[in-house]
């Protein structure tokens, strides 16, 4: 198999053609939206609100607040490990694609990584919509068979002696990785700590930033 198998009987299946202003896909979506709105199935204001939610209101800053609170507050950390759905709801992050949450903690012995090999399951309330790489075949195919190779693609090395634990989200349970708290952050506020928590560190393809990597 090649990296980009092309079916030349269907010229519009090419990714790059979807980018042109009046591609088949653009016209198709436009026609469908018009039809669904005219038939009364879709309220245009609701459509705008749905899009605005995932473009502007939800994102990995939510998850970063959860992680920072767990780092700073030992009782919260315990609640997060024992019942992540409830602990995350304390910060008002709930609902679609986060109905059943599990928090998995990176330690000196374990490095956790999350994938959905079958589709694109991802904890929307805490991370927002997934990045393209998370939804794409290279990550979904390889992270279960070669997690350390995938980590290398992200510039991350995990010692051979440490367990790499991959969580394949095959059901409606969604996983949030709690990265290890970087050294040199004693006494930091939760707001400062949250600046160290990247999206990738909560998927497991990255580590939390070190203090010298941010301007705080």
């Amino acid at each position: 198999m090649t990296n980009h198998p092309h079916d030349h009987t269907h010229p519009h299946s090419h990714d790059h053609e979807e980018g042109s202003a009046l591609s088949d896909t653009v016209l198709r979506v436009r026609a469908l939206e018009t039809l669904l709105t005219e038939k009364g199935y879709v309220d245009p204001a609701a459509l705008d609100e749905l899009i605005d939610t995932y473009e502007h209101k939800v994102g990995p800053r939510n998850g970063a607040a959860v992680v920072a609170k767990a780092w700073a507050d030992a009782d919260y950390r315990k609640r997060l490990i024992s019942d992540a759905t409830a602990a995350i709801a304390e910060l008002d992050f709930t609902g679609r694609q986060g109905e059943h949450m599990i928090a998995v903690e990176n330690t000196d012995e374990i490095h956790n990584m999350v994938v959905c090999t079958l589709c694109s399951c991802y904890p929307w309330p805490v991370l927002g919509l997934p990045p393209v790489w998370y939804k794409s075949p290279p990550y979904r195919s390889r992270v279960v068979i070669d997690p350390r190779g995938v980590l290398a693609d992200f510039g991350v090395t995990v010692p051979e002696s440490k367990e790499v634990r991959v969580w394949d989200s095959t059901a409606e349970v969604r996983y949030l990785v709690i990265p290890q708290r970087p050294d040199g952050t004693d006494g930091w506020s939760q707001e400062q700590l949250a600046e160290l928590v990247t999206r990738n560190s909560m998927i497991g393809t990255g580590l939390a930033l070190n203090p010298d990597e941010v301007n705080t």
Binding site: D7, V26, V29, A45
Partner: protein
């Protein structure tokens, strides 16, 4: 189904490329596809498992060639056609459907769609038990990936009973089944040259076990 979506362990796709400062969407039409899919889903005519199956039930060449939201568009079109929603005479009034309105969006998303249900029977397994997955290749929607079939692992979490996608995707009811997180050794799944410290965990329903 053994389709293009079942990617665990497939080779040849090349490296994972992380786009710096990736935008939430790369094209404006993608935002409309996401919004339309969520808005139409809110009508309650189909569930999440039917939605997934509609996206995945297509030739692997199509699934692997198309971008993510192009697949979503095709899945939505299939669901609309299956429900005859685009017929000339069909509309929200004739079908007695109430569209999601803007001021209900936040509450609807915050509520989500929990999949836990009352169990129909006691759990057959507990944490620490060893299970072996079945090796059956079903044509219907299933969430037991090929790379985890016929494998032995250890139960590490008992989640309670959850909607069973193999039924729910095909109008066969929710048929709630016990859901477990199962821990598999990388060396068992992929061979002795893998790191003996490494494991894969997956969430699997009781009917997936021998």
């Amino acid at each position: 189904m053994n389709g293009g979506q079942d990617l665990g362990g497939v080779m040849g796709f090349g490296p994972v490329i992380d786009e710096p400062n990736e935008p939430w969407f790369h094209e404006r039409w993608e935002t409309r596809v996401l919004g339309l899919t969520l808005a139409m889903g809110a009508l309650g005519l189909w569930n999440i498992d039917k939605g997934r199956h509609a996206r995945e039930n297509r030739p692997p060449s199509q699934y692997l060639n198309w971008s993510y939201y192009r697949i979503w568009l095709a899945g939505l079109e299939d669901l609309l056609n299956q429900n005859n929603l685009l017929d000339k005479a069909a509309n929200a009034t004739s079908r007695n459907l109430k569209p999601l309105v803007a001021d209900k969006v936040a509450a609807t998303l915050a509520r989500g769609g929990p999949s836990n249900r009352t169990a129909q029977a006691p759990a057959r397994y507990k944490v620490g038990d060893s299970i072996t997955t079945n090796n059956e290749h079903r044509e219907h929607h299933t969430r037991l990936p090929r790379y985890l079939r016929g494998q032995t692992g250890e139960i590490v979490i008992v989640h309670g009973a959850h909607v069973f996608p193999d039924c729910s995707a095909h109008d066969k009811g929710e048929n709630p089944q016990w859901l477990y997180t199962v821990r598999f050794k990388a060396t068992d799944l992929w061979g002795q040259d893998k790191n003996p410290n490494d494991h894969v965990h997956a969430d699997l329903w009781e009917p997936y076990f021998v």
